[in-house]
Symmetry: C2
Subunit: 535 residues, 2 copies
């Protein structure tokens, strides 16, 4: 049919070009791995990204190639999100906290031909360089001096690539369904599996996510700090939402000490920050100890796991932040909106807590539903508990090199592994991981809820609940906790504290007090390790 629109493609570099044209003076700020705070405008960033892109093309990398990056959140990493996908190649964002064997496994699995790294990840690269079968070029992101003694063949300096580059390079047009970023799952339940984000999926999740960011009337002129690493679902799209909305974005580099983060927040007048509960815990503890307050920060975004109630209260009541939680996974990042409905946002603090403690609500473009064991959809009444399924504009259907291993159920919905309720407003409440839920006497006990209740006890620092086999009931809950320094509660006191707050048959039969609870590379409780140790 004639008269149809020109089919312009949703390609990531359009975001940076737009920012350069219309928000050219707004800055990207990051602490370098050397500790120095670096800054450059979107206009400068776009120019550098184009130079680097043209250098990569000149060296033979282009459409269909895959380039890995093993690094911490810096401006150069930010640039890579444009330079690499911008030429039609895919950027594989590798988690430096993975076991070293997993790192070379996934770089080989993805067939990456370039590896970008920084001063902090150099020691890892030195160990694995020889085992990387496809990597032809190692690119060092930092000053020459940092890499003078590097025991790696073929090291090229990132800055040399930028200098060599052609500033008049123009972003090419290609299919928006091309791979843009590759991210591997953390592999808590098996070998890490590679998920591909296309230009289209990242653009749509950023466009829709920006419209749903709470507290940013037009999205513009916020100052957003990402406490989430770039390799963790693209720092939750901050590298894309910043240029789109004209917000300044700030990255902490490798230095995640609370005093450094606080200094960055105050110096850059950060208005909102996003991170997992464990980083919020570290920040709150430090603020408590040092009697500090935020001058400009008003928003906290949390995801990855539920924010414990005491931490939620500390952030909202003690530090005056508007806290929103959302839900996502590597296979479905930013899949719920943390913004409360306006009528819930107006509620008094206590009533509002009910909604704040949920994992956000259905966002346009990602449909959520819960199903029973047979796959039948359950009611959206906030009470029915079922397996959470998601389907939408940014969910994948397979993993890299696992063509037959679809992550989808029979109806084409992504299996999340979470158990949840959904209410009539679309709020989702994660009840448990399907594999962590305790099946006792035919009923489900939520390990997440037991952990939340245990952590309400003032002496309990962290809590984990696992299922142990039981002849009579099938499974029964075991509670494992760490205590705050100098705390003295014993197992019996903790159980007595919990009893009035839970159903009688939910009470853990055993409480173990331990020195540390093991975590995964992404900071989640490692229940596989706990089960090995205690059952």
């Amino acid at each position: 049919m004639s008269g149809v629109p020109i089919e312009e493609q949703l390609l990531l570099p359009r975001l940076l070009s737009y920012a350069s044209r219309c928000h050219g003076e707004i800055e990207v700020v990051a602490r370098d791995t050397s500790g120095e705070i670096c800054r450059q405008t979107y206009a400068q960033t776009e120019l550098r990204a184009r130079r680097l892109a043209s250098s990569l093309i000149a060296r033979g990398y282009g459409h269909g190639t895959k380039l890995a990056v093993l690094a911490w959140n810096t401006i150069r990493y930010f640039e890579l999100f444009y330079s690499v996908p911008g030429i039609g190649a895919a950027l594989h964002t590798v988690n430096p906290r993975l076991f070293i064997d997993q790192i070379d496994y996934i770089i080989n699995d993805a067939c990456d031909s370039v590896l970008f790294f920084d001063g902090a990840t150099l020691p890892i690269v030195e160990q694995i360089a020889e085992r990387l079968t496809n990597v032809k070029t190692f690119v060092a992101m930092g000053a020459r001096g940092e890499f003078a003694e590097a025991k790696i063949p073929n090291v090229v300096l990132y800055e040399e690539l930028v200098e060599e580059g052609d500033a008049s390079y123009e972003w090419p047009e290609f299919d928006e369904k091309s791979a843009a970023v590759i991210c591997y799952t953390s592999g808590t339940t098996g070998a890490p599996k590679g998920v591909t984000y296309t230009h289209r999926s990242l653009m749509l999740s950023s466009l829709i996510g920006s419209a749903n960011m709470p507290g940013s009337p037009h999205g513009e002129r916020q100052v957003l700090l990402s406490l989430a690493p770039m390799f963790h679902a693209n720092a939750w799209n901050f590298p894309f939402m910043g240029p789109l909305t004209g917000s300044k974005v700030v990255f902490p580099g490798r230095d995640m000490r609370p005093e450094s983060l606080y200094e960055l927040i105050e110096a850059e007048a950060v208005t909102g920050a996003a991170g997992v509960p464990s980083i919020w815990r570290i920040i709150v503890d430090w603020l408590d100890c040092n009697g500090k307050r935020f001058s400009t920060m008003r928003q906290a975004f949390s995801a990855g796991s539920p924010l414990p109630t005491d931490l939620m209260k500390a952030l909202t009541e003690r530090y005056g932040l508007d806290v929103s939680q959302s839900w996502g996974m590597t296979e479905a990042p930013n899949a719920s909106s943390g913004a409360l409905k306006p009528e819930h946002n107006k509620l008094p603090s206590d009533a509002k807590l009910t909604y704040r403690e949920k994992a956000g609500r259905e966002i346009f473009g990602m449909r959520l539903r819960i199903v029973d064991d047979q796959g039948h959809e359950l009611a959206r009444d906030g009470r029915a508990v079922g397996h959470l399924r998601v389907r939408g504009l940014w969910t994948p259907h397979t993993y890299i090199n696992y063509p037959d291993r679809a992550a989808l159920d029979a109806d084409g919905w992504l299996v999340t592994g979470d158990v949840a309720t959904i209410d009539s407003d679309g709020y989702v409440q994660i009840v448990d991981r399907a594999k962590d839920v305790i099946k006792s006497g035919g009923e489900w006990i939520s390990s997440v809820e037991l952990e939340r209740i245990a952590m309400l006890h003032p002496d309990v620092e962290r809590a984990a609940v696992i299922a142990v086999d039981d002849e009579r009931w099938g499974e029964r809950p075991m509670l494992i906790v760490t205590l705050h320094a100098a705390a003295k509660a014993d197992a019996q006191q903790i159980i007595e504290f919990m009893r009035p707050r839970i159903a009688r048959w939910w009470a853990p039969d055993t409480v173990k007090i331990v020195d540390a609870i093991p975590t995964t590379a992404t900071g989640k409780i490692n229940k596989v390790a706990l089960r090995k140790r205690f059952t």
Copy 2:
């Protein structure tokens, strides 16, 4: 490549299904053509839209067919935006204010096979029914009584189609690049030409437009009144942005009398309304005369032509509205964002006026640029004046039945026919229509600016400037004005008022005071008619 996302399509019914699931209790409200105020929730609306869709399918209409609607803004019209595109057909939104010959011409030109109409447009349909060569079914939107005496063959009642329909009908999946809506240009400069909006283009402009709507923190729970008709670029996407953001949307039906609009605004607690300057003029005049104020309305959106300064001041200073202007055309609707940058939004009223008087700024997804007569891009400095070109996610490359008549320049950019400046923040200022600009002694004189200045005179009601041939200068401006009732200014007084406010050589050589200035079907000044009469 494996691991890529499922390719879900951007299809319009997803918006209504989302609203039904997550904002099910929010209402669509409209005055029916009978004058009655009707209301139904998004949940009810989605159900009715599905029933109607299944009825249309049952009657043989489906993918690739075209269905016309000639009607005023009612709930049924709102439903058509989902029922018709939802089955893969295109909805042709016809302007009842066109000359009657143009109406049957464009319905035939588009090959429409169904015509939806209402009680108000019945007389037009009775006149043209026999000349509509492809229309097989006429669907009456209203109660049976209204159409008892209709002199039209094959009339079916809309409500019967809904009743017949299947509530379990599920929206089908198809290519998002399918035609969804067809809109003809107003034809001021020749025969009307048909522009096609696809599902993709409407979804992207609505997704991005919602994020940029000023004053709606999350977009949610606003009450939006469309003073723009549905056939005017889909009422500026209100039928799509309402369900997307969970805002209540309100439509005035055929009754555009200011007292009726005011009653609707107050009764429905409208928070923002969108319309062309002429409707804002009617509302302000009525408020002034009747000493009324808005209780809930805070936002005014204006587009179509520049808002005169006195009207802008009345809306902002006298009636406390936040006014934003944006720019668009049938071929590029909603092509700029009316939201001011936050730093400009904070300015005191007078300084803010400078930005409010511009036509919005570049919105992500639609690139704007100005070029000289040779097509070279000019500076974005707010001073250079050039031909405005636009290119982006929702611009067409041809018109229906005009495959060779591309509306694009040699570089693939849409020729807008406007002359403009763009500044470094992306704000666009429309200087003139290219065909209306006066070329005097090698320099350009802006008819738009002269009209604006003339209307600052307290006696001048409306002003139009046209070029008249001049032996010495090529062209010279002629000013044509209407005066307010009982105003007494003469031509010389008006020129003397303007002189200190404009460059010396801009002063009109002639001023004509007339009883009325002719307008087009979309309410714009008909300069073709003025030129015929005065030159």
